[in-house]
Amino acid sequence: MQMTYAEAIRDAMRVELKRDPKVYLAGEDIGVFGGCFGVTAGLLDEFGPKRIVDTPISENFIVGHAVGSSACGLRPIVEIMFNDFIAVCFDEMCNQAAKVRYMFGGKADVGMVLRMPIGAGIGAAAQHSQSLEGLLTHIPGLISVIPSTPADAKGLLISAIRDDNPVIFYEHKQMYGMPGEVPEGDYTIPIGKADIKREGSDVTIVTWSWMVQKSLAAAEKLAAEGINAEVLDPRTLIPLDKEAILKSVAKTGKLVIVHEEVKTSGFGGEIAAIVSEEGFDYLDAPIKRVAAPDTPIPFSPALEQAYIPSEEKIIEAVKALF
């Protein structure tokens, strides 16, 4: 059925809240208020305050308590209102959630989900707009899921909730209202499987989240000019479907990586390194990255639009390879 990205995320949580009494939600303003972006609207009425828990503004606690409750067998889905706020509770993700299993010799599981909205484009400026998905990929023990469509959001979130590892689930604000066809009821997508959003033969564009939509639009324009781009969405950064990326590059011989994160130390660098190490012979042109510049995110719409990677920049990067 047709659902928006936000509705698909809510539907996934509803399916799991109904299926498993151990699942609960906790976060700031997720109950009465329905979430800062309305994603959890109606869930408090449907499931009650035991399962849908409004917390004070206490990010350390929100994530830290989920480490404890999940180690004791519950299935918390916690929300940090903006990806930027991860800086406030970095220890709880990096030193606790990520490491408990390993430090304890595999004798504890932290089966929790951390949901966080990412992305610029709504004039929210430097502390409410970042895409920091690369940051936590540097900490082994965490899984990073970053869907680009309503159906992917639903299928991957249900898989994330059922996963015994700590999973970070990145939702792009620009897509919350985006509609799409979404399977009803129980629907899962395996974590770690890329999806080719557009088949092509001339160049591979590896991209995720909102940039998938921009890259698809760019690919249509490129097609009109005779360049047939393949758009590959890894959907999860950790684990990364390396094989799918290498296979696509083997077919096209060219790679452009597009992400909204800043360029330096963005996850695109990791993908470029993997392809250089393991797929160098497939390449007949240098790898290109399209990313945000290495600056904080500006407020003025004129500046913000200049900051966000655009269709034009994607097209320009692709054309430079021909």
Binding site: H65, S70, C72, Y102, F104, N165
Partner: protein
Amino acid sequence: MAEKKEQLLEMYKTMVRIRTFEKEAIDLFAAGKFPGFVHSYLGEEAIATGVCANLKDSDYICSTHRGHGHLIAKGGKLDLMMAELYGKSTGYCKGKGGSMHIADVDLGILGANGIVGAGMPIATGAAFACKYRKTDNVAIAFFGDGASDRATFHESLNLASIWKLPVVFVCENNGWAISNSQENHQNITDVSDRATAYGIPGVSIDGNDVMAISEAAEEAIKRARKGDGPTLIECKTWRHRGHFEGDPGAYKDPKDQEEWLSDAKDALVRVEKKLIELKYANKADLDKVKADAQTEVDAAVKFAEQSPDPDPSEVLTDVYTV
């Protein structure tokens, strides 16, 4: 009377086992038998012992970097602990955690923790799980005076108080946040004053009096089991050693050090005197307890030394649950 005798003797045994283990660990570390850090619990044995004497196996504790005492008091096995200190494959964490990360989830020990103050949200999350599941289990968060300055302390007390969670916050105030004296790091004398800010009971007690600690813990744990919410117990004590082995503790006033290590103040000597005074035991009984503890620790050392190192391939396991 018989019950009190039994209880005091049992607590004495636990304190002796902790002291014997710690003395051995210090000597072994100094002799270069294992790497890393050892944060000795010497001098603070009464606290873990008095608190854990009131716990069931199904209750939870979150420990600290100075964690050996908590683990022993909650039922941790000395041989598995010692093997973990040695980094052996037979250790609690298969050699992946070491002194600061020993855990035994089956015994409700949700780990020592290398990050000061990080255990409090985790313990509060465990308490959340206890309440969510409608059990009468409780969680204990051990931490020091230094940790009471962290956001995690304040967030956890606030959350536990508003949700009436079954958690007891046990502050081991040994007067030092590493080298920073309490008067330098907080403008209060009693950490328990901070309970007022969260509308929960707070008490300060002699942290070297195991009976006083046991009584205070009993009341707080009863309150938690009944669903009446958290308590903050501050136990005033002194660490006999430096922050870690290798720290000579030059920042301490030698007079204070001498006074706290005197027979009049030492927690273990005080219990011995009490046992003799009440005629619960004679010197031979006490000597036997000490000899038994030494035998147990010697066996633990032998077990650790004879155990194999982990296979290098173990580096890669236990990162994720598959």
